[in-house]
């Protein structure tokens, strides 16, 4: 077949910057970054989008997109996004936050942004542990899961219970959309793409806060191969964290 008959059906999204993705082999962040790029492009809002990263493995995310963006202090992206959005209401604000960033240090900031009914979109990265600092316990760590700060496995008597942020977000009045997704199978990857689009659409339409939680593999801190990570998500994480939409409304009364 000659080269002029070839049609490009798949390539790097135009919103991906030249900076390489520096996450570990087997990490799902690269796939999630791609989904964010594709959705922004398909919605045609790349000319008015600001993307904020958190502290942890999403810190460098703003540099990976050809978008206005900033790295935020630990847990504070929703507060910064709130101000940017209120000052320039036409912008589309996306915060990308890990489970320590949003679920621990920044939970208050996040819940209050939901409570105020801010028109924002948050991508929450739940990998059941702290990746960047080397595998410590996160609020999302599973019961019994061994981490560097739960060497005998997470014991609820000592370290409490896993936090279910997607369900928590869904009970807040200001939330328009809340879902939990994964990218660990092709079918789930497609569902995840739709979830991001809906979470962005709720903001663009001025309905309310859009939230998507990703169960995401962390081979380095889980001490697993990439394929073992997929099994861990399938067998262990899905048992604790069910997938699906927890809230999807077109109007907040």
């Amino acid at each position: 077949m000659s080269s002029e008959n070839k049609v490009k059906v798949y390539g790097t999204p135009s919103l991906r910057s030249f900076i390489p993705i520096l996450h570990c082999p087997g990490c799902h962040y690269g796939a999630i970054i791609r989904l964010i790029c594709e959705n922004i492009e398909e919605l045609g809002v790349e000319g008015r989008t600001v993307l904020l990263g958190g502290v942890g493995c999403s810190y460098a995310w703003p540099m990976l997109f050809v978008l206005d963006g900033a790295a935020c202090p630990h847990g504070r992206a929703p507060a910064m996004a709130t101000a940017l959005k209120r000052i320039h209401p036409d912008t589309v604000l996306i915060t990308c936050q890990g489970d320590g960033d949003l679920g621990a240090i920044g939970l208050g900031c996040f819940m209050n942004a939901l409570s105020r009914g801010e028109k924002l979109t948050t991508i929450f990265l739940n990998n059941a542990g702290y990746g960047m600092t080397g595998g410590q316990m996160a609020p999302t760590t599973l019961l019994g899961q061994v981490t560097t700060t739960t060497p005998a496995g997470r014991d609820p008597e000592i370290a409490g219970y896993p936090i279910h942020v997607a369900e928590l977000a869904a009970v807040m009045k200001g939330t328009a959309y809340s879902a939990r997704v994964t990218v660990h199978t092709p079918a789930n990857y497609q569902k995840a793409k739709k979830a991001i689009k809906l979470a962005l659409q709720k903001q663009i339409d001025g309905i309310g806060y859009g939230f998507v939680e990703f169960l995401s593999a962390c081979p380095a801190s889980w001490r697993m191969t990439p394929s073992e990570c997929l099994e861990f998500i399938d067998e262990k994480m899905l048992a604790e964290y069910p997938l699906g939409e927890f809230k999807n409304v077109d109007r907040i009364e």
């Binding site: 989008t49 978008l67 206005d68 900033a70 996004a81 709130t82 101000a83 940017l84 000052i87 912008t91």
Partner: protein
């Protein structure tokens, strides 16, 4: 004709911010500055602005950070423990070199302190940078409602000129006292264009994709090298120290004893100078308006001429450290400081007479 109205220092701060073109305020209630936010919550919506009552000072400061990224003039105000909660964010804003204004209406004491009492006990903390990692902020210290109105406007101008967070450091007395204030917007001149503002144009309209975040993401103008970024910040601070010192003297030329103070304590000192002069005592006053940068050289010269210095402040000794450092041991430095103005007895409120009493033992 310029209007003159009778308002408190806190209201003068709020009106000064509006006069400076600030339309966005983010804050959390804390005594004795809550009326700044109350005033702006009513006024900002009328001019197309935004007031947000945050859930904590640790959120206010990040709303300020996000707001500053938008390129608009933004402000928050707080006091004491609320100011301490902002420390991390202040340092981040310093690292990102974003212009904005933080007002600290000081209250008395550590911990929760006493919100309903006068104190100048955030001085050392504010002037040390008010954050981790070697950050620096310009700190302005008004001594009257009129100066609150004027200096908050200067604060916005300096913030824009240098890309820096400016702290306006007032106190309970200045914040809650009312005086006639001339409501005249000040024009300090042009400020640099904010072509770095995050308005979501990174892709389409030719704007650069500028990422804020300090040393990890240095400003494009200084390149991607961390040492270059730190050298750039060092030069910026040096330029501010060389050019932005502001102070005021009163009867200091022939003084035999120089009172040195700032904020509301300086008003007491001015009264003491007037009382003392009437009694034939050659007293003078040196008042710092910028407490970072501190007028070190100017104070050293004035102190050397007088030969003796008495520092008056509402703390057990914070401002005095800067005075000692300025005079470099060339003249003796005495301190009249109180910590607990509300307490009856010896540690109580400093009036001009109490300053004169102290002067009597030194002359």
């Amino acid at each position: 004709m310029d209007e003159k109205i009778f308002i408190t220092g806190n209201e003068a701060i709020a009106r000064g911010a509006i006069a400076a073109g600030c339309k966005y305020f983010f804050g959390y209630p804390i005594t004795p500055q809550s009326d700044i936010g109350e005033y702006l919550s009513a006024e900002l919506p009328k001019i197309g602005g935004v007031f947000i009552q945050s859930e904590a000072e640790s959120a206010s400061i990040y709303m300020l950070y996000g707001g500053a990224m938008s390129g608009e003039r933004v402000m928050t105000s707080t006091s004491g423990c609320g100011f301490a909660l902002m420390a991390e964010g202040i340092s981040y804003i310093c690292a990102a070199e974003l212009p904005c204004v933080v007002v600290d209406v000081m209250r008395m004491g550590p911990g929760i302190g006493t919100g309903g009492q006068q104190g100048q006990t955030d001085y050392r903390y504010a002037t040390s940078g008010a954050g981790h990692g070697g950050c620096r902020c310009i700190v302005l210290a008004p001594a009257s409602p009129q100066e609150c109105f004027n200096l908050v406007q200067l604060a916005f101008y300096l913030a824009d000129i240098y890309g820096i967070l400016v702290i306006v450091l007032t106190d309970f007395i200045i914040g809650r006292m009312a005086e006639p204030v001339e409501i005249r917007p000040l024009d300090f001149g042009p400020v640099p264009e904010k072509d770095w503002a995050l308005v979501g144009k990174g892709k389409k309209e030719g704007r650069t994709d500028r990422h804020f975040g300090g040393a990890s993401y240095p400003p494009r103008s200084v390149g991607m090298s961390v040492p270059a970024y730190h050298e750039h910040q060092r030069q910026k601070y040096q330029k501010i120290m060389d050019t932005e010192v502001r102070y005021e003297t009163f009867q200091a030329e022939d003084a035999e004893l120089l009172l040195v103070s700032y904020g509301s304590s300086a008003r007491v000192c001015r009264g003491a100078v007037e009382l003392g002069r009437a009694q034939g005592l050659r007293l003078g006053l040196f008042r710092a308006l910028t407490v970072w940068p501190f007028p070190r050289k100017e104070l050293r010269e004035a102190a050397s001429r007088a030969g003796k210095v008495l520092v008056v402040e509402d703390s057990i000794g914070e401002f005095v450290d800067d005075v000692e450092f300025a005079v470099l041991g060339q003249v003796p430095v005495h301190l009249l400081g109180v910590w607990g103005r509300h307490q009856p007895g010896g540690s109580g409120i400093i009036h001009p007479e109490r300053v004169l009493e102290e002067v009597g033992g030194l002359l």
